[in-house]
């Protein structure tokens, strides 16, 4: 137990700084979004079966579970986009000294998008079609 506490204190906690958290979140959201492209393109392929096949496929997405997944997806896209802009800004405009502030701005922008998206997704989660 003391070994675990020591490991958390000496090894894990020092890793928790805006730069590392941003790097980790950028990587996790990036890999998740890249893998999401596979089912996304596969579901587009359903159009080959015609109008009924595609509309059937799309109707299957209107469940509360998909609403939760799509809401999280919007959050992942928002973080990856805003943090990507932060990386480009730091690269191009020599903002290394301001990256902490920029990281909090990224989180604020993400939170704003996520809350705004709740008006679309929360009703779908609570009252499924």
């Amino acid at each position: 137990m003391t070994a675990l506490v020591g490991y958390v204190r000496r090894t894990l906690l020092p890793l928790v700084n805006p730069g590392t958290v941003a790097w980790l979140l950028h990587r996790v959201t990036g890999v998740a979004l890249a893998l999401y492209l596979i089912p996304h393109f596969v579901s587009i392929h359903a159009a080959i079966g015609g109008r009924q096949a595609l509309d059937g496929e799309l109707a299957g997405f209107r469940t509360p579970l998909f609403a939760v997944a799509e809401w999280l997806l919007i959050g992942a896209v928002a973080f990856h986009a805003f943090n990507g802009l932060r990386i480009i800004a730091v690269d191009c405009f020599d903002l290394t000294g301001r990256q902490r502030l920029l990281f909090w701005l990224v989180l604020a922008a993400c939170a704003a998008v996520f809350v705004a998206a709740s008006t679309l997704f929360v009703p779908r989660i609570l009252a499924p079609m």
Binding site: W23, V31, L37, F41, A47, I74, V77, A81, A117
Partner: protein, 126 residues
């Protein structure tokens, strides 16, 4: 933070050729995707909210050249950005040259397969 950034020189297994173009293209495609995904998500979740269907999608795809140009840029941009992003993650684990070749083939073949598979279905909507 990014492939080719400071510090990568210590990783001897990282290829130097073409790294600058990959870095630049990742930034350019990324900037474009911020715009393209905002349009995409708005079209799908706000404009077509709750009634995304064959009719809604065909109407959008047949609405004119602007949408055609948009999708002709959007789809390759997203596939490149995703494949190159995964490639950067893969390189961080210092794969052997043989494994690197396999990774490169999987990413290129996977991207083209996905593009072809999606397009074959999408053609019905055009």
């Amino acid at each position: 933070m990014s492939p080719g950034a400071a510090g990568s020189a210590t990783l001897g297994s990282r290829p130097r050729r073409g790294g600058l173009w990959a870095w630049l293209l990742q930034r350019v495609s990324g900037l474009f995707l911020v715009y393209a995904l905002a349009v995409h998500l708005w079209a799908v979740h706000v404009v077509s909210s709750g009634r995304l269907s064959w009719d809604a999608i065909t109407a959008r795809l047949q609405a004119g050249h602007a949408w055609t140009i948009y999708y002709a840029l959007f789809v390759p941009a997203v596939l490149y950005h995703a494949a190159n992003g995964l490639w950067g993650v893969f390189l961080d684990y210092a794969p052997s040259p043989a494994l690197r070749r396999v990774g490169l083939i999987v990413l290129w073949a996977g991207s083209f397969a996905l593009l072809a598979y999606g397009y074959v279905g999408l053609r019905a909507l055009l």
